[in-house]
Symmetry: C2
Subunit: 304 residues, 2 copies
């Protein structure tokens, strides 16, 4: 069976009842609610769903509708950039589907978001219709307030679906398809966010750092945080990112306090981190008891 | 469903056809053959099985019978200590069973080994009937040849099942129950095995080191190796052992070259290593996509 993940980001991270209501609206047969993360500083929630194609698309559409009912962007403040009540919705292939299948889902949902809710939609990453829309940062430039001013007059900001005006309270939504992304943050033992920003610049690909790493420095819980998206942990493993941040931090006389994974991480990414940190020779996941057992069972019971 | 692992050790590590025949004898419904490791220096094979209670006991019994047919201990030479054609058989709880359940299996199989094959059996570890039989080294003292001479005259060597005489060619077998054990070796970038021995003494519990760690220094592939058994990776995680060996090695001006896992490792032990090396906050295995998905599916489809 095809299994797709979707991780809608909603611009509400403080009012638990509203986030609950949005999650509840997305509950339906064939869709699993895997994770829910509220961040008060970001004033943003990230909900992780997985499911079959049709059910997942409908669940996401209902969530976007509920968010438009409950969130008013004209009153929204938070440290994380955003342009919409439902800010961004990626579709991610997990099992039995391609990235292009997910891009097709993004297009279908995008058209429907405009039709049902009159919220304009931009397509990004693998669903992008123009090279300058591949990167979310570009699409989100100026945030809600900037887009609101510019959308009607700047042809570059014409949405992929809908008319060139933001929804008055729900803004616009960015929908797309991408590979599995690990949201990984590292806290430093300093409140000096400038150090986190400098480290972010060294680490991220866009300013000459590691491939498949996006990074920014943020103040979180009174600490400097290097906030990252790892877009391909096969090519740039988590352990390598961690070691680079740690050694860069040391250059500023600062230490890593802790790190956190926001949302979920694929099993293989963590296994690779263990293999790397323990310097395991010829490590592969077949040395793991449970994997060996699953393989043995699959081999013995092919039709179950 | 209850799932138990068993790791019978057979005293044949050179003749592939014989090891194949023993493995083949253990093949039956409800039993998975997870791993097979032949060592010519040790002249010993280690076969890892998992299965349900009754099927696994019968499989192990058949393997012991086949080994008695094929292996003649009076002609066996190897660097690893042994007292029987089937030398040692641990039962290990994996899912839905306790250590005491496994001890019960050991007793039942022990009685049956004597009944079917007239091979005397000693119980060890959690199935031991006397404190001096908890440790395998004690039970195996003097090896096959020493036991053959002593068994009838020394009351301390009276078997737990059977009469006080070894089987003329198959010797005696040690059967018991223990927790999952991780065989973990660390290579140093030196050929000076004395350094590995010193580190082993610092690391292992018996000389004042970490709980649940057994260690010795060995020369392997021209390198000094700290060869370890980790008998409880929940209490003493692999990452802690690795870090201690690494920092002790540095005291001798030596570095860790690599490490290796022999056989299998439980998923949780590796996940913990990743969490620890990445300094992950509040890490637990539920952040892993595949685990979350399995849990969500089990919750939604309880009767499948």
């Amino acid at each position: 069976m095809a299994l797709i993940e979707s991780v809608p980001n909603f611009s509400e991270g403080r009012n638990r009842a509203k986030v609950e209501a949005i999650a509840e609206a997305m509950r339906m047969e064939g869709v699993y609610l895997l994770d829910r993360h509220m961040d008060a500083d970001h004033n943003r929630s990230v909900i992780t769903l997985a499911g079959s194609r049709e059910a997942l698309m409908e669940a996401v559409l209902r969530g976007i509708g509920k968010a438009a009912d409950l969130i008013d962007l004209t009153r929204h403040r938070g440290v994380h950039p955003r342009i919409g009540a439902t800010d961004v919705v990626p579709f991610v292939p997990i099992e039995g589907v391609t990235l292009e299948d997910c891009a097709q889902m993004a297009r279908q949902v995008g058209a429907e978001v405009w039709r049902r809710y009159r919220i304009p939609v931009y397509l990004y990453e693998s669903a992008a219709t123009r090279p300058d829309r591949v990167r979310l940062e570009n699409v989100r430039r100026g945030q809600f307030e900037g887009l609101r001013d510019e959308i009607a007059t700047n042809p570059e900001r014409l949405p992929d679906f809908g008319e060139p005006r933001v929804h008055p309270t729900a803004g616009a939504t960015v929908i797309g398809a991408r590979k599995f992304l690990v949201a990984y943050n590292i806290f430093l033992n300093t409140s000096d966010v400038e150090i986190a920003r400098k480290i972010a610049r060294t680490v991220r690909f866009s300013s000459g750092g590691l491939p498949f790493v996006k990074a920014m420095g943020l103040p979180v819980r009174g600490l400097a945080q290097v906030s990252m998206n790892l877009t391909d942990t096969d090519q740039t493993p988590i352990a390598r990112v961690f070691e680079l941040v740690k050694s860069e931090a040391a250059r500023y006389g600062v230490a890593v306090l802790s790190s956190e994974i926001i949302g979920l991480v694929p099993k293989k990414a963590l296994e690779d981190a263990a293999g790397s940190s323990l310097q395991l020779e010829n490590f592969d996941s077949s040395v793991i008891l449970e994997n060996r057992l699953a393989a043995a069972r699959a081999h013995v019971e092919p039709a179950s």
